[in-house]
């Protein structure tokens, strides 16, 4: 797996640091006043629509590769997920209960330690059944809209400053694009064109 140009590596490093800091602070505050009901094996929020940037996908891809989890089965799951969710309306996606491709057969996340920010901010103090996509009732979930908005703005600015695409795409597609970037099949400045081609076939 190749290293990216210095400016891109720096952007990804900064993104990783900012993400870690934000989540730690947020979790500390939420846990101080709530009894978190999230438990290993509950994967209700792993069926929500999830769009990430290629920056986050690169972090995730490297983690999966380092742990030897980018198997043929995993690649097929990523491709199936990308095919099913490309351009899908988020409201339709939500009701379709589509599993995240990183979930294994025991409903555990294969990329947990490197999971995207949106996943880290989903935390509940309510009955886990209320988080199921068909029964979605976010009353007991942490309100992370402001934190998320702030981090998205930071990420967009950061990636833009370093000339990287900040387009958000379904997680399966994003990890596959990261694969192509890190193997040199596409260049950093060719992400948007590659995505356009994937979507339109043109």
């Amino acid at each position: 797996m190749r290293r990216l140009p210095l400016y891109a590596e720096r952007a990804i490093g900064e993104l990783q640091a900012a993400r870690g800091y934000t989540v730690t602070e947020f979790e500390k505050q939420f846990r101080a006043i709530n009894a978190v009901s999230c438990k290993p094996g509950c994967s209700n929020c792993c069926h929500y629509p999830l769009l990430i940037t290629v920056g986050e996908a690169i972090i995730l891809y490297r983690f999966l590769a380092q742990k030897g989890r980018l198997t043929g089965v995993m690649r097929k799951k990523l491709q199936d997920h990308a095919d099913l969710t490309s351009l899908l309306d988020p409201a339709v996606w939500m009701r379709s209960n589509i599993s995240c491709p990183l979930l294994d057969t025991s409903n555990k996340c294969q990329g947990y330690e490197a999971r995207p920010l949106a996943c880290r901010l989903l935390v509940s103090a309510d009955d886990p059944e209320a988080c199921h996509p068909h029964a979605f009732n976010p009353a007991g979930m942490a309100n992370t809209a402001d934190v998320f908005k702030a981090v998205v703005a930071f990420e967009t600015k950061l990636l833009g400053t370093h000339g990287m695409s900040s387009i958000r795409m379904p997680i399966g597609r994003a990890v596959l694009i990261a694969d192509r970037v890190l193997t040199g099949a596409i260049q950093l400045n060719g992400i948007e064109r590659a995505l356009y081609k994937e979507y339109t076939g043109a």
């Binding site: 351009l87 899908l88 009701r95 379709s96 589509i98």
Partner: protein, 96 residues
């Protein structure tokens, strides 16, 4: 064209148009007690989803459950599960 599922506007080449047969039309009219539309339009992403036996069933059942829940039905979750089991059984293929 407007997708009948997500309600987004799409160019014609990105849509599937389903024209009902006379038998299907009669079935829809009997089931709804009204007129059946001449055609159903789906955008490609929604069509792909509905064509997937597992996820298509999940979407339909999820939509039922959501609307039952919104109307305050106390057994919305059970209705959703029952609907899902029915659709999966109807799809005729084992679900992994």
């Amino acid at each position: 064209m407007k997708c009948g599922v997500c309600s987004r506007e799409w160019p014609k080449e990105h849509c599937r148009t389903i024209v009902l047969t006379a038998v299907e039309r009669a079935y829809v009219m009997a089931a709804t007690g009204g007129a059946a539309p001449d055609e159903y339009v789906y955008c490609n992403p929604c069509w792909k989803l509905l064509s997937n036996r597992q996820q298509g069933a999940q979407f339909i059942a999820g939509s039922f459950q959501a609307s039952f829940q919104a109307s305050g039905h106390p057994k919305a979750a059970q209705v959703g599960k029952k609907m899902l089991n029915f659709l999966i059984a109807k799809s005729g293929k084992p679900v992994s």
